[in-house]
């Protein structure tokens, strides 16, 4: 809930933090949307392992006869669902606040959102487990994760901007390739390194 309010507030701030005569809502919109999603997701990821940690459930999970990879995938899915939920509400808000005409690009934008989110959530899930037991973890997680959010963010913002300008998705093939490659690489790597994050 807090993540949602946070997201809404950021959108509001973006709208007022510009000179409307110079910057059209449509030009600002992609950046605003993606920055918002980024920060809301980081907030969500910060809490991802906190609950288990507080209740000692992490040790219980480790004792269970479930592979480490399964724990990761489970966590990943959970995080994706959560960020998906935040986005499901943020995106309509964004269309509303920025008075956008989507020209039927919604499916493409949703696809984009999914691709970008998988990428950084894959890494974010690893980092949230890692920073859960580290000092200053509220700060450590964003510090470590934000660089990883940049390539998906650039790709998503660029493609969104093209889509809103009425260009077909095919025009953004290059960016989409980068996004997909990023997802594959980091999902694979994350699954491979995640066991190292859980104690022996």
């Amino acid at each position: 809930m807090a993540a949602l309010v946070f997201a809404a507030l950021i959108l509001v701030i973006f709208n007022f933090a510009r000179d409307p005569t110079v910057l059209r809502a449509q030009d600002l919109a992609p950046s605003a949307l993606w920055v918002t999603i980024t920060f809301a997701s980081v907030t969500a990821l910060n809490r991802a392992f906190a609950v288990e940690l507080d209740h000692g459930a992490l040790d219980g999970l480790l004792l269970a006869p479930v592979g480490r990879e399964a724990i990761y995938l489970g966590k990943l899915l959970g995080n994706l669902l959560f960020t998906g939920l935040v986005q499901a509400i943020t995106i309509p808000l964004f269309v509303l606040f920025f008075n956008l005409d989507l020209h039927g690009t919604l499916p493409a934008i949703l696809l984009l959102a999914f691709l970008a989110t998988v990428g950084f959530t894959a890494v974010g899930t690893v980092f949230s487990a890692l920073t859960a037991r580290v000092q200053f973890n509220e700060l450590m997680l964003p510090v470590l994760l934000l660089p990883f959010m940049v390539p998906p963010l650039i790709g998503a913002a660029q493609v969104t901007s093209k889509l809103l300008a009425g260009r077909p998705l095919a025009d953004s093939a290059g960016w989409l390739q980068i996004l997909v490659t990023y997802d594959i690489v980091f999902l694979t790597l994350s699954v491979l390194v995640f066991p190292a994050v859980l104690d022996e």
Binding site: V143, L144, P147, F148, P151, I154, I178, S190, V193
Partner: protein, 251 residues
């Protein structure tokens, strides 16, 4: 909740016999110091060559010569980071604590090199591009290198158990190393679509032979500089590690 097992008892993170660790550390330090001094002297010679004997670029003037320290520094910063990535991956596979210590050394030296790139960059950019900063591929990638290395070192400082610290840093190291190609690619694509008007092309359409050879000399020198510094820093890390192990054994 840190593990309470003593450092040397942990079988998955073995300590080499203590005196061999100290001997190895000392050797590393001696070799590193020799290489560093060699590199510093060579750097001075390189300065002379770059300033005196390499032609001045007619349209860009003397400031173009910053190129001969900026690019080599960038090369060795990326080398440092690449080695950090490799050591991190190897560590997760082999659990050899020396790999962890070398990664840490590489991160610290790399951070210094990155700072050099990020400060000489604007000093070059202002006279050549007209702006202190541009979001172009090399500078942006180096900036990310800086963030990643600082994040890596900060993380290390917040974990007190050596095994946990080594494992977690290795995870960050590997993921970080894989990120850099994507940053590079994304910025490149971004620049291709939104090119900034570059008044002068700093590297020129082709680099004349004399400039290229000076540049390559710079690269060689900075590579040796990296090696020297990292070996000293690695030796320091091993001695530190040994010192902590002895305290833990006594306490």
């Amino acid at each position: 909740m840190t593990s309470s097992s003593s450092l040397s008892a942990s079988s998955s993170f073995p300590q080499s016999s203590t005196s061999s660790a100290v001997v190895a550390a000392r050797k590393s330090i001696r070799l590193g110091q020799a290489l560093t001094v060699l590199a510093l002297v060579a750097l001075a010679a390189h300065y002379v060559r770059a300033i005196q004997y390499t032609p001045i670029e007619a349209t860009q003037g003397l400031a173009q010569k910053i190129f001969y320290v900026h690019v080599p520094a960038a090369w060795s910063a990326f080398l440092a980071f690449g080695i950090l990535g490799v050591c991190s991956a190897l560590f997760l596979w082999l659990h050899d604590r020396r790999l962890d210590l070398f990664a840490e050394a590489s991160a610290e030296v790399g951070t210094v090199l990155t700072l050099i790139v990020l400060t000489t960059g604007p000093l070059w950019g202002k006279p050549i591009w007209g702006t202190w900063w541009q979001w172009e591929v090399r500078l942006t990638s180096t900036l990310f290198l800086f963030f990643l290395m600082v994040g890596y070192l900060t993380l290390r400082r917040s974990i007190f158990d050596p095994l946990e610290r080594a494992r977690y840093s290795a995870v960050v190291g590997i993921l970080g190393a894989m990120l850099v190609p994507f940053i590079h690619l994304s910025v490149y694509m971004f620049r291709t679509i939104h090119p900034k008007p570059v008044i002068l092309n700093p590297e020129g359409p082709t680099l004349p032979g004399s400039m290229l050879s000076t540049l390559l000399e710079g690269v060689a020198i900075m590579t040796v500089m990296y090696l020297g510094l990292v070996l000293v820093r690695y030796g320091i890390g091993r001695l530190q590690d040994e010192k902590e192990a002895r305290h833990a054994a006594q306490g």
